[in-house]
């Protein structure tokens, strides 16, 4: 319960303005809380007279915390490749493990993964647990979930990180759920609190308009999925030594109710827009499917990939996996060039954490220009081809 001390409350209304849920109103000089309150606590922090407090949360201790030690990273392996985010996880995982003075381990599942172990050790893993077998070749939520759960129960790591990819976001929640522990989705920052060694997990909420720092105080492991392209990948050192541990899952874990009949890779622009450094994105201003040819040429010139706004996807000019924004993907490239995209908040939330944003738009009052590092004002059909040829020229 959120408790208001009317003796201390001065009726200033700061909490009312601050509440993202419309859960507080000031009535007769004192704050009143309604049922929209989610106990997020942001009002407690902003209340200068300290008239607000959260009470009644009898925290339940679910695990003997000291039994759990070590940092784990799930290394996603699909169609013969380790997902790039795995090396980013090893980068941040190494830092966390060093701060806690514990080993860093990687976990990898698949068919023929034994030969992948070396690259994980080179990128910072002290140990690699690998489960190799035909049952693990295709991704199936139940099998991956059960095997990881089994490993965690046996070896008791304090922290488990996975990429916030289609696979990670799909099966990690199941693992956290059966282990009765917390999971924070899509983290963009991770750190260790010095006083008690707790993992602090920061993630965007409300489409990136609010950041929330979350902890998992009473249960283990502390689990998080991490957005691709946010953490710096570990620098590989081929001379690094580590321990390889083959894990043979129980037969029960490998039994699945789910059958993958076919795994189809998209042929056109076969890239995951969350994993590339440069994105050229097109919107309504492109007018047609043909408009995307201009975008594609620029993307090719820059070695980037093609993305789109919802309007362009809805018009059928490009497929849904390219969509950036609230109902599409969240991307974080180094360079994002938005062509003919107005930049309504639904789009902005999916790309505003890009390092450099360039807007090419005919209207300088378009919201995209509020968040763009550089804005070019004019007809994109003039500007984009010029830009492509200038870049070609500058490269000689």
């Amino acid at each position: 319960m959120l408790i208001v001390d009317c003796e201390k409350c001065i009726g200033c209304g700061v909490c009312e303005e601050d509440c993202a849920f419309g859960a507080i109103t000031v009535e007769e000089g004192c704050a009143v809380v309604n049922e929209n309150c989610t106990l997020c606590g942001s009002c407690v922090d902003t209340c200068e007279p300290e008239a607000l407090r959260i009470e009644g949360a009898d925290r339940i201790v679910r695990a003997d915390l000291d039994e759990w030690s070590g940092v784990w990273v799930f290394a996603e392996f699909r169609h013969g490749n380790i997902a790039p985010v795995a090396y980013e996880l090893l980068g941040i995982g190494r830092q966390l493990a060093d701060q806690r003075d514990v080993p860093l381990s990687a976990v990898i599942f698949g068919a023929g993964v034994e030969e992948q172990v070396g690259s994980l050790i080179a990128s910072g893993a002290d140990k690699v647990y690998f489960a190799d077998g035909p049952e693990l070749e295709q991704f199936r939520e139940d099998v991956y979930g059960h095997v990881l759960e089994e490993l965690i129960r046996e070896f008791k790591p304090e922290v488990v990180l996975a990429g916030a990819t289609a696979i990670g976001r799909s099966f990690i929640p199941q693992v956290a759920n059966v282990l009765n522990t917390g999971l924070t989705a899509d983290c963009t920052q991770l750190s260790i609190r010095r006083e008690d060694g707790m993992l602090l997990q920061t993630r965007p909420a409300f489409g990136g308009n609010i950041m929330a720092t979350i902890e998992c105080p009473h249960s283990r492991p502390q689990m998080a999925t991490v957005r691709p392209k946010v953490m710096k990948p570990a620098q590989p050192d081929p001379d690094r030594q580590g321990e390889m541990i083959r894990y043979v899952p129980s037969e029960q874990s490998l039994t699945s109710k789910v059958e993958v009949l076919e795994s189809v890779r998209s042929e056109l622009d076969n890239v995951n827009i969350q994993e590339v450094e440069i994105l050229i994105s097109g919107g309504r201003g492109l007018d047609s499917e043909k408009g995307f040819e201009l975008i594609r040429e620029l993307a090719d010139e820059l070695g980037g990939a093609v993305a789109a706004s919802r309007a362009a996807v809805d018009a059928g000019w490009i497929s849904y996996p390219h969509q950036v924004g609230q109902t599409g993907k969240t991307v974080c490239p180094k360079l994002y060039i938005a062509c003919g995209i107005s930049g309504a908040i639904q789009h902005a939330v999916g790309m505003q954490s890009a390092k450099t944003i360039v807007a090419i738009n005919k209207d300088e009052n378009a919201p995209i220009c509020d968040i763009a590092t550089y804005s070019l004002i004019g007809d994109l059909f003039d500007i984009v081809p010029l830009l492509t040829s200038k870049i070609r020229e500058s490269r000689g």
Partner: protein
């Protein structure tokens, strides 16, 4: 075929702009809507019902006014709406929410299929669908873009992956989370609106679903919010002027590092 659809009421972000000075979302007058992904889940449920008969039950957890989205669900073809609402649920994270929805689903009876949106647009976690499947001990698949076939106790679906899609067959009962590519939701008919107006939305409390106190709300949540803050505003912004050529030259100069 009895289908349960989970629906969340979320703040509508349409027409809201970020204030470039403070980098916060202007929230004033922001209305509540049905989470867009859940809208697609509901549409798919209604389509399946139309083809295979059965019922569609819409379930939501939230404050009393979340009743509105359930009424809306009825207008789009759900047979009934059920709201689990109790102040004891406040502060629930995805674990406690999955538990609560799981208890609510059990109290409502048996379902052959449970559909959820991929994620809610306010929290963006995509964790409650898989969590609910886990609580109900059901197989599940996330990010479904197409339901291809159904029959003989099985369902065949296409699920979106980062590099394409997988064709997956799973036995019923099962839970699916869906992406918006799965269908084009219908608009509500006049008849639907009338039905929604008259619908009685069942409200269930923590006691009604026999939820245990230590698993619900803030106390039942393994994760706790330590702090909430506004992200740092983006740095300097430059708007170029001049002919297209002049503007392009200025940009190329500044982006040199990328070529």
């Amino acid at each position: 075929m009895n289908i349960l659809v989970c629906i969340k009421q979320v703040p509508d972000t349409k027409d809201v702009r970020l204030d470039p000075e403070t980098n916060t979302m202007a929230r004033e007058g922001v209305a509540s809507i049905m989470n867009p992904f859940d809208r697609h889940a509901l549409e798919e449920a209604v389509r399946i019902k139309e083809e295979h008969d059965g019922t569609v039950t819409a379930l939501s957890m939230g404050p009393p006014q979340a009743e509105e989205v359930l009424r809306e669900a009825v207008s789009f073809g759900a047979d009934e709406g059920v709201l689990v609402s109790d102040r004891a649920f406040a502060g629930a994270d995805t674990w406690a929410t999955s538990y609560t929805l799981g208890m609510a689903a059990r109290s409502l009876g048996e379902f052959d299929l449970i559909l959820c949106g991929k994620q809610a647009i306010d929290g963006d976690t995509a964790q409650v669908g898989p969590g609910l499947a886990c609580r109900l001990n059901m197989p599940y698949v996330t990010c479904v873009q197409k339901v291809s076939e159904m029959g003989g106790g099985f369902i065949l679906v296409e699920r979106m992956m980062d590099d394409g899609y997988d064709v997956v067959r799973l036995p019923l009962p099962a839970l699916l989370t869906v992406v918006k590519d799965i269908n084009e939701p219908r608009v509500s008919s006049l008849k639907g609106k009338m039905k929604a107006k008259k619908a009685v939305i069942k409200v269930l409390t923590a006691a009604d679903i026999e939820a245990e106190k230590q698993y619900i709300g803030l106390a039942g949540s393994p994760t706790q919010v330590v702090k909430i803050f506004t992200p740092k505003p983006r740095g300097d912004r430059t708007v170029f002027s001049g002919t297209p050529e002049e503007q392009v030259n200025q940009l190329v100069e500044r982006l040199n590092a990328y070529f």
